[in-house]
């Protein structure tokens, strides 16, 4: 693009092209966020289950608090790399999704802290929170696989109620894998297909 005058028709075409291109670019960024949080939660679930099973020490539940640490570091690195190469633009949808997950993150953290003092079905609450966040994200970006997986997450919050013992940690991890990792890969695949 240069510093030159355009015909009226070319001006309209340019406006349309730039707006469409910016919109697509912003939709493409959501897959990696689901993958980072989905894989992190799954890996921590496996670690917690393994250590508690091996030692019988429930203090290994504190490993859950590594989830936000690893997740936010992953998000920061991913954003920095993407911004360095392709730049960054923020639109209303991206900011809204960011705010939704910030509130859900705070709620999840406070609930986890509460669970350190009072016994309640924390994994069910977490699945409900993550399911709500995933569903709202899917509805906002109008992407069916994310909406469906979010609803699956919300519905499956009942599963830990019917389970006894630490196996529910494993089930929680696998539900997160289904709810976040699968739609994350589908989003990325769609994004790559658009750029081909």
């Amino acid at each position: 693009m240069e510093e030159k005058n355009l015909t009226e028709k070319a001006s309209l075409e340019l406006i349309s092209q730039m707006i469409t291109s910016s919109r697509r670019k912003l939709e493409d960024g959501n897959g990696i966020s689901f993958l980072i949080w989905g894989y992190t939660t799954f890996a921590i679930s496996l670690a917690v289950y393994y250590f508690i099973n091996a030692t019988g020490d429930y203090h290994y539940n504190y490993l859950w608090f590594l989830t936000p640490v690893i997740g936010y570091i992953g998000m920061a690195v991913s954003k920095r790399d993407k911004t360095k190469h392709a730049g960054h633009a923020m639109n209303f949808i991206e900011r809204t999704i960011g705010n939704i997950w910030m509130v859900i993150g705070i709620a999840a953290f406070l609930t986890s802290v509460g669970a350190s003092f009072v016994r309640f079905p924390i994994l069910s609450v977490m699945l409900l929170l993550l399911g709500i966040g995933t569903t709202i994200t899917g509805l906002t970006i109008k992407f069916k696989p994310v909406i469906i997986s979010g609803f699956i997450g919300m519905l499956s919050c009942a599963v830990p109620f019917f389970m006894k013992g630490y196996e529910q940690i494993l089930v929680f991890g696998f539900i997160c894998l289904i709810m976040m990792v699968i739609p994350g890969h589908i989003l990325n695949y769609q994004g790559r297909k658009r750029h081909v």
């Binding site: 510093e3 092209q17 730039m18 920095r80 392709a86 633009a89």
Partner: protein, 97 residues
Amino acid sequence: MFKELNPLLHSELRLGIMSILISVEEADFVYIREKTGATAGNISVQIEKLSEAGYIEISKGFLGKRTRTVCKITQKGVNAFEEYVEALKSYLDIKGR
């Protein structure tokens, strides 16, 4: 009757920059360069002109050790862009709402 086209917006690069900024809340310099395919020097000159006209706001920050320039369209810029599109319609005989 034909409306006058805003000369500040009736240039390929400046219109490209404004079209990007109208569709996002803010965009950084690298993003604009990637989208427009223009040289960094040319973009710097054009965003300075748009900023002087009050159409965009420029803020500088840091990303790691590198400086990061972020551009955001102002209400004055939005109004000018809308007027420009309306003027274009009069040339192309597109009926408004």
